[in-house]
């Protein structure tokens, strides 16, 4: 039916972002890493900065990020993307630099790097995907694993004695003065995804205005290692995760912070 339609009568409303390469992404069905990627690609297109953007890929499920974004990319060692981004941005101040990191990369081995990049008010944007486990290595506890959550390294559920307490990155970074924009969003419905994209756009605008460090935390589903269907995973995010990680805007250099959802 489609082939015989004359497409000239139609105009595009939504097409695949130019900031995406053609590579098919390797994320599991129902994982929302790809969705987070897509929002970043759309924002890069809308801001028209793809040609001067440098993506700093981290290590985790998103390790192949450099294959997905159609711009210059640098692969950082586990946890060190904010440091690599610092080096790139200091040498190329006109470039637009963002890191794409998971919770293992950013909140575990790389916590010092992201805190100090923020404290130095580095003009970089950090995309922080929080899915409460180490995904690539098959489901271990992450700093963002919730109390009682069972993972391969918290077989009896995370507790004070086994695994300690959950780290809230946005709340931590909200105390750091070099931060220009800081928000946590959720990817579990069209409305929430649109709010997430708006947050990403503001984060990149903070960088473009030289206002300082920006980070958007995106609560993301990991059906595979949560051992859930994606529907159950989305519900778990909405009902459980958001209790520990309340979405909202923590810092906004323009002052007009949206109320916490």
């Amino acid at each position: 039916m489609l082939d015989d339609l004359d497409l000239t009568e139609y105009e595009p409303v939504y097409t695949r972002p130019e900031s995406f390469t053609d590579t098919i992404m390797r994320y599991c069905p129902g994982c929302t890493h790809g969705l987070a990627h897509r929002l970043v690609a759309e924002v890069l297109d809308e801001l028209g900065v793809r040609e001067r953007t440098v993506c700093i890929a981290s290590v985790g499920c998103s390790v192949y990020t450099y294959e997905y974004f159609n711009c210059d990319c640098v692969q950082a060692a586990h946890g060190r993307a904010p440091a690599v981004a610092t080096g790139v941005k200091r040498v190329r101040p006109d470039s637009v630099v963002f890191t794409y990191q998971g919770d293992g990369d950013l909140a575990s081995i790389g916590l010092a790097e992201v805190v100090h990049a923020a404290a130095r008010a580095e003009n970089i944007t950090v995309i922080f995907v929080n899915n409460a486990v180490f995904g690539m290595t098959q489901g271990q506890m992450a700093p963002t694993t919730l109390p009682g959550q069972v993972t391969t390294t918290t077989p009896r559920g995370r507790s004070r004695e086994e695994g300690g307490y959950t780290l809230r990155v946005c709340e931590l970074l909200s105390q750091v003065e070099g931060v220009a924009y800081l928000a946590r969003r959720v990817l579990t419905s069209p409305g929430r995804v649109r709010a997430a994209k708006n947050a990403l756009r503001l984060a990149f605008e903070a960088q473009l205005e030289g206002a300082g460090f920006s980070l958007v935390e995106l609560l993301s589903a990991c059906p595979t290692w949560w051992h859930m269907t994606w529907r159950e995973a989305f519900d778990w995010i909405d009902q459980t995760m958001t209790r520990y990680f309340p979405p909202g805007e923590f810092v906004n250099w323009r002052g007009c912070g949206q109320a916490k959802e």
Binding site: M1, Y10, V13, Y14, I24, G30, R38, S189, W230
Partner: protein, 84 residues
């Protein structure tokens, strides 16, 4: 053969059959195909194109940017607001 107001093109080889588009479409325009793509997934397919209101819920939720949306030039005003 009437011309639909909106047209959804799905890259079946890229789709992983995750069903997010199907779940969030308010009009039941999409469903999983019974065929397999080369990765062994049942890709999403358009089953009721005529009911599409152009709300973009599907392209908003697709984790792999498999879906493209086109609108007939003559009916610009008819796009529905995207659902929450």
């Amino acid at each position: 053969m009437n011309k639909p107001d909106f047209l959804l093109l799905i890259d079946e080889e890229r789709c992983k059959g995750c069903e997010l588009c199907i779940e969030f479409c308010p009009k039941g325009v999409l469903a999983l195909a019974s065929s397999f793509n080369r990765f062994g997934h049942h890709p999403a397919m358009v089953v009721r194109q005529e009911d599409c209101s152009g709300c973009q819920a599907c392209v908003t939720m697709c984790p792999d940017a498999c879906i493209e949306l086109y609108r007939r030039k003559s009916c610009v005003g008819k796009t529905a607001a995207a659902p929450e």
